[in-house]
Amino acid sequence: MYVHEPVSAGFSYLAPWIILAPLTGLTINSIFGKRNGEIFVGTVASIAVGIAFIASILLAYTVAQQQGVVQYWTLAEWIHVGTLQLSWTLRLDTLSTTMMLNVSGVGLLIHIYAIGYMHEDVRFKQAEDRFTGFFIYLNLFIAAMMLLVAGDSYLLMFIGWEGVGLASFLLIGFWFEMDTLGQPSWANSNAANKAFIVNRIGDFGFLIAGFLMFWHLGALQFDAVFAAAANAEPWVVPAITLFLLVGVAGKSSQIPLYVWLPDAMAGPTPVSALIHAATMVTAGVYLITRSAPLYALAPEAQHIVALVGAVTALFAATIAVGQYDIKKVLAYSTISQLGFMVAAVGVGAYVAGMFHLIMHAFFKALLFLSAGSVILGLERGHHQQDAHHGHSNSNSNSNNHTHDHNEHPPFDPGDMRNMGGLRTTMPITFGLYLIGALALAGIPPFAGFWSKDEILLDAQHHFYLVYWILTIAAFLTAFYMGRQIWMVFFGTARHKAAQHAQESPPIITVPLMILAALSIVGGMVNLPIEGWHTLKHWLDMTIAPIAHTVPMTHKGVTSGFNIYIAGIATILGITAIGLSWLLYGKNPLGPIDPLKKLLGSIFMGMERKWLVDELYETIFIKPYNWLAKILLGKYTDRGLINGFFDGLGSIIVLLSGLVRKTQTGQIRSYALTFVLGIVLVLSYFRC
């Protein structure tokens, strides 16, 4: 077993607090939360994450002081049996501290935002007692995510991996007894189940990879795995990396396991922003970056990773073009952007991938939260208009669920066809959304431009096919964001709710402004100018020692700047926005999407998500249900299997009854048995 001397300097002793602080927060809230009200709960949860954030800063500072030398902090020994040695050790290097900062920083802003958001949301849904539960789950998520990024072995990472999966499940199904419109239905619950089950498939891949490591490399601790991988049999490392890719496809929602993420938007908007855009879904990218030495030994696997990422990026972007739900567009956009990151780490551009991961966390969180603000604005407008139009107050509040359902189709505050003209009614949100959209579209000088450019540059250098796929995807990205901006904020209001929409309070908008500022200047951390590659230098302390073994290395090119690539990307982006203006911004929108007239059935495909859900339904779910029905039938489960076990049970019960007859209670028979026993034992010797 690989043994490392625990090194720890500076503020390393704070390492446990990145996990303990959110755990303490959720403990306090689960005991005292309900009694003390919303402000208390929100404050405790936010302070807990704030402590984790401060600890992360100090840890990053320590790592910087130590010139990137890995610091280990062992919380406790776990189990030590034979050669299996497991301990709760946290690993502090530039990669893990970057992820910690990302998780706790964005997490903190979203916690604060959620205080305002959930305050309104629980009131719209008539369930004020669930406010506390939301923050408990959110803190649970932060704790699990911190363990995921800080754990020093694949096992600890897997525990965190499962933990975030659990938190994600709980939060997607937070309003489990209704659908996204608040109607009684199992839609949200089904979405949560879908996310959980699809993720199980991915986790299965991760588990297999873990077993392979344990059997063939004899270790789960990172350094030990990497050291052993070099001398492993030739099939082992490719197998491990491909099974890890299955895990990545599940968690980071890549083809073919991406289907859960759009449905996951059933969760409250802060959840979509934090878990399903900024942090949890990037865990796969982190996993591949962390496993870089393994992928270095398996170039074929790396090619597959790059292709999976690129194809996902393009495929999801086409679907995003055809969506009407404001959050669904962002969901598919997230899948597409995750594809960019996976493709980046697939071509060996780990720094570019991590760079895009962080920038994406800023602008996608911003977009989701702004979308949440838009939805709340429309809900406020809808309620006001309801009251205004003589619906009795009690009706619009308490009987909303059943009443609306029967009379007219329920109002969907997330449908972009109900919006329009919001730039006048919600000017702050508009400005913030615009910044996020431009950053996502990759327009200079916003954050997304720099990171996307770096990915394209690396792809062009190492894998030409991937470069082209990503360029087309980038074009579509700019197009669907343009489409969204025109549909939501420009033109005239297409629904009364949009007319009466109201701007959100500062507790919602202030965190957004911080994210917006980061989306504008975030690119500064890694500008392609000599002396400005701060992030690259920082991450290279951890990645560079392993990168020289990577066949497809970024031999200094990431720091370069190719005017053609940047130029093409920018021109394509601006063209796409222009094109979207021609279609959506120039003329008032009718009931039929202008692109539909243009593309016909192709647009239908985009709108219907290329029927992938239906395909899975036919291939997997229906045969599965059929099989389950057969197996449960009269001749199989209830007949054969039940019969077998019932029979077995009866035999044991029968035996038990017989054996019990020996307990006669008669002392003479007891003594007799005793003597018989000793005769048998004695005679054994001569047998």
Binding site: I652, V653, S656, L676, G677
Partner: protein
Amino acid sequence: MSTNLTSDGIIAFIPIIVAATTATLGMLGIAIKRDHFWNTTLMLGGLTLALISSVWAWQYLPTEAVTDLFIVDAHAHFYMLAILIATIACIILAYPYMQSHSGNREELYLLMVLAATGGMVLVCSRHFAGLFIGLELLSIPMYGLAAYSFQRSHSLEAGIKYLLLSAVATAFLLFGMALLYAHTGQLSYAGIEQALQANNSVSTNLVWTGTSMMLVAFAFKLSLVPFHLWTPDVYEGAPAPVTAFLATASKIAVIGALLRFLYTVPALNSEYLREVLAILAGISIIGGNLLALLQTNVKRLLAFSSIAHFGYLLIALVASQQVLVATGIYISAYLLATLTTFGTIAYVSSPYQGTDIEELDRYQGLFWHSPYLATALTVALLSLAGIPLTAGFIGKFYVMFVGVNTAHWWLLGTLVIGTVIGIAYYLRIITTLYVTASSTNQIRLPIGWNHTISGAMLIIIGILVILLGAYPQPLLIIIPSTITNLG
């Protein structure tokens, strides 16, 4: 080889001395003034002192035997600690139980202290004389304890049954010792080992007969099939705190002594012996579990399940690899879980003047009026069933681990079958705790029960079961450190 008692030796002996003094003082205390509270406190205090002194004396371990008869090494300390913890817990449980007892109450504690002293002597002995003294000092108070509620015929019957059958077992033990002495001319373990090695006569009829007879006596005390028949009757008849004592302190002392005997005289620990142990283990696992399956009397059910548990434990002895670690861990888990289960019975029976609540029906819906106690009981039962995240799982895992390492496949097969049957009846108790009560017969606990020492103790032990299951590292550090050369 003669050793004089040195000052180091006295230090090592302190726990036993303190326990013996406690018994004497307890007796005097009762003679001076009968007072339930003060007499109990006195004896409890004495045992606690013995516990502390055992922990303290651990660091002053003598490198050599203390006397010809006894050795106090890390192994002895570990088992003495277990016995003391069990006894203290049983006394705490007995206190509320005895409050409603109509006869003399204080002697119960006295007998327990005496038996505990016997157990401590037993695990230290390295000589047949010490072994015999210890075993009898442990057993004779047990007869009185089992028959303590003699107003109930069941209790009296239990005491007499245990006395008679125990006498048979003791006769076999003495006979076995005599045969070994006849062959070797030695009474100390080391001497026997030397003599056997010297004339290389391990596999003679005389030695084998002597060893088997001693083994049978041990098997009786550990209630292994087919020497188990007394177990359910005595467990059922004895007052519940006594049953708890019998199931924990008494059995732990015997297994500690058996381990020392077998590993100090490795010449006797032959292939034959291990085969016999394997058969005993197998039939105990199957027999114990089958007997437990249909029981509705909780005390009898747990009696049968304890038969199976010592069957599981024997697998480690058969595998004879890392035996002391595996048994140590298994014993710790068994101790905690058994204290909780029998403790709960004792505790809920306290207000009923000596009639124990032992029918499963009476526990219906316990969870709904005493959630904490029911949860602790659930945890203990899950631990006995060997469910992960409980201490019982760690114990069973270790036993399986050594079994797999030494490829005792059929024995592991019985372990798996036994565990499956075990889960069936443990779950039956657990589900009973959670159904809503239909009978008016159900037990009621006094309000504020969990503020009493006994109630709080049960909950703390329940928490320990979970804690050591999730984080077994303390056990895994302490127990291997008790492995010394047992000679």
